[in-house]
């Protein structure tokens, strides 16, 4: 069955080709929707079949590689020169990612049939989505870094195409004056910021090849197992890889593109900018766990960046009013948690949170899509309110998502987030400070999520007469219900020992992370009393966050008002996202453009080089003009010169 792995990857590509080439001629939205969703559905089915087969195998025999053909090579036959094969690797980690990508992807495709109904670019949308799934599957199923990079850049391209899907709509992008930017500015920003990260990825690959003589995961990781902790090359490789991860997974300092990526249609935000693509960095770090295990310094950096991002993004989320931007900052923050987990060497905890987050964040985004749909493209939650009456299904499912992300027992987010917090506290790579940041972040998360829920669904209507909210069609609500169900029970795949579970996901992934765990001498923990205390604490803080939001936004709106007035500076700092975009613009973007235009082009190229050349040319022509005077064309003058010459020569000969 595993030999079918390439089909998982290529079916969506066929979908892309069919829709891309003939989509404009297919008049039926239904047919386009069936093709687009169908290919992803079949991919999911194949992945499921492979998964079932793998469950029946010995844990250490679950890795399978399917080789297809030689891709990039020097073709000189020299053993030390580069040779990269297109090959797919199915193992516990990649099949889990594949199931998420195709499973959640399939639901979002179905949802899009309803959401994109009537859009002029309906076929184009599904073509891009299929292409995205293809690229994403390359990313997770690749058996080498270069093919992973193909997927990595490919998803970046699809992200670019889909953020700018409605390319000439006005959209406020960070770094641009209000009202001057379009969705394509957001798309371009996303692509370029990602490229900065990719620069790190490319350098990492070069160093990997230089160090290990191969880009294949197997060869590299086997080589890494023989190295000792603190290896210099491993340090640089992992640091550069992490630069790549900060780009794709929107971590400090490259997180600025993700909030603007909300310019894309909402299903895109759900699929690409929440559930799958942005988790690529997390997947990549987890995939390279053995390399990171060799570099404790990098692990420390990963943990610190993760924790910082988690809290910074959560704090920005507190004051935003655009429903999708709140969710975007929430995503940035949650990704921070995942990196915190990876940084404290709790790799499977990171992947566990990635999984549950895919469920509840996709749910929240799709729910917000249903709201936006109902509100005729209004995204400002200050202009909503009382929507639960009109959108009962959306409301209920959204509430489940909110509870899940807030981390309330026994919803999915509770188990995965608590696992991270516990590891941040107990791991020898973690610390109390990291745990504390995580817990405060959890409180903020609960607060801003319920602020969002209350302002959107509860209270009084704050929209005009002309708006008539209505519940979304079945193609949209059914995916919501399925995702809500998964957000409710998804956590049970990782119930810890302290809850008398056996942490299935950790056991499933164990063989993948075994080399790293062995290297780091991680020991399986028993049950501690502290764990219960900490759990109760974080649960209490989450509950407090919810209660606070409920109190402020239903009972005492004056509190928010007075806080805003009392701390104007803080409020403005948060509202303006710490002015990061503006700083980048002033320090990097602006000066580069100015330097290129004034100094390099008009200064050096035109003035110096061409100036020198033209100067030389005119020198030649001036000299020539002067010499030209000799050529008078008057025979007498020539005769005078001629005679003068003879006299001169004769005189010289005689006088010599």
């Amino acid at each position: 069955m595993t030999s079918f792995a390439p089909y998982i990857v290529f079916l969506p590509f066929i979908g892309f080709l069919v829709l891309g080439l003939f989509g404009s001629r297919i008049k039926s939205e239904k047919l386009i929707g069936i093709i687009g969703s169908g290919v992803v559905g079949v991919s999911f089915a194949i992945a499921m079949a492979i998964f079932v087969q793998m469950v029946g195998e010995e844990p250490h025999a679950r890795k399978h590689v399917v080789e297809l053909f030689t891709w990039i090579s020097a073709f000189t036959g020299t053993a030390s020169s580069i040779h990269v094969v297109v090959a797919y690797q199915v193992d516990q980690l990649s099949i889990l990612m594949t199931l998420i990508v195709t499973g959640v992807g399939f639901l979002i495709h179905v949802y899009s049939i309803g959401y994109m109904h009537g859009d002029a670019g309906f076929w184009r949308f599904f073509a891009y989505l299929n292409l995205f799934i293809f690229a994403m599957l390359n990313l997770v199923l690749a058996d080498n870094f270069l093919l992973m990079f193909l997927g990595w850049e490919g998803v970046g391209l699809c992200s670019y195409l889909l953020i700018g899907f409605w390319y000439d709509r006005k959209f406020d992008v960070g770094g641009y004056a209000a009202g001057t930017a379009t969705t394509n500015d957001a798309a371009r920003k996303a692509f370029i910021v990602n490229r900065i990260g990719d620069f790190g990825f490319i350098l990492a690959m070069l160093l990997i090849f230089h160090t290990f003589g191969s880009l294949r995961f197997d060869s590299v990781f086997n080589g890494a197992e023989l190295m000792s902790i603190g290896n210099q090359a491993a340090f640089w490789i992992t640091l550069l890889l992490f630069v790549g991860a900060t780009g794709k997974s929107a971590q400090i300092p490259l997180f600025v593109w993700l909030p603007d990526a909300m310019a894309g249609p909402t299903p895109v935000s759900a699929l690409i900018h929440a559930a799958t693509m942005v988790t690529a960095g997390v997947y990549m770090v987890a995939r390279c766990s053995i390399l990171f295990a060799l570099a404790p310094t990098t692990l420390q950096v990963v943990a610190i960046i993760g924790a910082l991002t988690a809290i910074v993004a959560a704090s920005i989320g507190l004051v935003q009013n655009d429903i999708k931007k709140i969710l975007a900052y929430s995503t940035v923050s949650q990704l921070g948690y995942m990196f915190l987990a990876l940084g404290v060497a709790a790799f499977s905890a990171g992947i566990f949170h990635l999984t549950t987050h895919a469920f509840f964040k996709a749910l929240l985004f799709l729910g917000s899509g249903a709201v936006i749909h109902a509100m005729h493209d209004e995204q400002d939650i200050q202009k909503m309110g009382g929507l639960k009456k009109y959108l009962p299904t959306t409301y209920k499912t959204f509430l489940i998502g909110a509870i899940a992300i807030a981390g309330i027992f026994p919803f999915a987010g509770f188990f995965s987030k608590d696992e991270i917090l516990w590891k941040a506290f107990s791991s020898e790579h973690g610390s109390v400070v990291m745990w504390a940041i995580g817990v405060i972040g959890a409180g903020l998360t609960a607060f801003y999520m319920f602020r969002l829920v209350i302002l959107t669904f509860e209270g009084t209507f704050r929209f005009g007469e002309e708006v008539h909210p209505h519940e979304a069609p079945k193609t949209m609500t059914v995916p919501l219900i399925i995702l809500a169900f998964l957000s409710l029970v998804g956590g049970f795949i990782g119930v810890p020992k302290s809850f008398f579970g056996n942490n299935m996901i950790e056991h499933w992934l164990a063989p993948v992370f075994e080399p790293a765990s062995t290297k780091l001498l991680l020991i399986e923990e028993g049950v501690h009393a502290t764990e219960y205390v900490l759990m109760a604490l974080s649960l209490g803080i989450a509950a407090a966050g919810i209660y606070g939001a409920w109190k402020v936004y239903t009972k005492r709106p004056d509190i928010a008002e007075s806080l805003r007035n009392k701390y104007t500076k803080v409020y403005s700092l948060l509202l303006n996202k710490y002015f990061v975009d503006e700083v980048y613009d002033k320090t990097v973007v602006g000066p580069t453009v100015k330097l290129s235009e004034k100094l390099l082009w008009k200064g050096f190229d035109v003035a110096v080089i061409d100036g020198a050349l033209n100067g030389m040319a005119s020198l030649v022509s001036v000299t020539a003009l002067w010499f030209r005077k000799i050529q008078t064309g008057i025979a007498q003058t020539y005769a005078v010169v001629f005679v003068g010459g003879i006299v001169f020569v004769l005189a010289w000969l005689i006088l010599k």
């Binding site: 053909f69 030689t70 891709w71 990039i72 090579s73 020097a74 073709f75 000189t76 036959g77 020299t78 020169s81 580069i82 270069l146 990079f149 193909l150 850049e153 490919g154 391209l157 670019y160 700018g164 390319y167 000439d168 379009t182 394509n184 500015d185 371009r188 692509f191 370029i192 490229r195 900065i196 990719d198 620069f199 490319i202 350098l203 070069l206 160093l207 090849f209 230089h210 580069t592 453009v593 330097l595 290129s596 235009e597 390099l600 082009w601 050096f604 190229d605 080089i609 061409d610 050349l613 040319a617």
Partner: protein
Amino acid sequence: MNFDDYALSATIFAPLLGVLILLFTPQGNARAIKIIGFVFSVFVFVLSLYLFFRFDSENPSFQFQQYTVWISGLNIGYYVGIDGMALLLIVLTAFLTPLALLGTWNSVEHRLKEYTMMVLLLELGMVGVFAALDLFLFYVFWEAMLIPMYFIIGIWGGQDRVYAAVKFFLYTLFGSLLMLIAILGLGFFASTLQDGKFTTNLTTLYAVAQHLPLNLQLWMFSAFALSFAIKVPLFPLHTWLPDAHVQAPTAGSVILAGVLLKMGTYGFLRFCLPLFPEASLRLIPVLSVLAVIGIIYGALVAMVQTDIKKLVAYSSVSHLGFVVLGIFSMTEEGIQGAIIQMVNHGLSTGALFLLVGMIYDRTHTRAISDFGGVAKLMPVYAVFFLIISLSSIGLPGLNGFVGEFLVLVGAFKSAFLGSYAYAAFAGVGVILSAVYMLWMYQRVMLGPVREGSLYGGHKLSDISAREITALGVIVVFVVWIGVYPGTFLKKSAWTAKTVVTLMENVQRGFQPRYAERALHEDK
């Protein structure tokens, strides 16, 4: 006697047949002139395909060799033959020429007959340059190719065509005169050896050159290198390029960017490195630093251009910097990357100039600020523009990535370069290419249709079936090389391997093996 012995010469001179027939075609019959030009350029392509399929990738020596005495007293011969690199560049030339004609079918009306003849003569010169194995013959083709290009820019170009044509001509001529002196010097050096005679036979000279003292090597390398560096163009000798491109008619730009620039990098690999290996090793830092500066400089200056053609021209400076860096990494990856990058740049930039030409034909402007919202009016055109832009950006899965990545691998691991900094700085070019290409794409293709612009009132028609064919064929290869580059990289493997082996041996102080191999084949 079989055809293989003449196949190469047939490919070189086939355009001449077209020129002869055109001579007897009446000026007024535009349709016939176009068809004759196109048919003969396709015929050359078919011949080049014959070479491609008959070429033996396993054979390290020059193939399809043909030698005829030309000037016997000076041992100058009509000597042609190709290795994998020359093969790929000849196929590229023969591929782009008909597409350049097809893509600009209705662009030229004035003196069409002469124009078509010039294009065919140019093709002759270009194929000849890549096939010549005699330095004198090489020089003749090199100069011969300059003349039609000069006329193409000077007669069928834009407003400032004469300035651009003269600048192009003088720049190039200046370089090649020094090269001629070095060629003669090399020939005379051969005659000073025991039993030596004056010769310009390249394979003989490969052997002779190993006796060159280092100071002479350095002088001759510099003379050759200057000529090639101008052609590439290597920073800071690049300022003729933006002018020439902006002023040249579309087909001229396509061929200029697609093929002519490669002659510089081709020259480095064919002549500079194997003839003057020690000098090459010494000068690695100079050329590599200039290459890396060119990569970043070209990209930064491209970013702030206001004319689309100038933007593409400066992007060429950046992309060709990669090629030079790959060559002077002197690794198999680097040189293979450089060779495939030559082809890639020919395809992508050739296609970009075709695209710019198509919209220029419709609007008579190339100023970025005149455009906006073109994608709405020309959706098919926009798709092609996007694919080619992505190829130029180096998106994995398309051709550009293969070359750039191999060059970066070569530069990174190269013991000759000896520093990671080259690859790291070159990598910055990868970021910048996305900046300028996507920004240009956005300003031209997306956004609102500009009111009051030249085409504001008109209905801009999407590209025709003819134009789609020209671009579509290129896109096929853009994807092919991106996904399965082995078809092409296999051909040039020996070229890379031979040069690298030579360089490594010279570095270790061994006798140059390259020369010995060449001696074997000497006729």
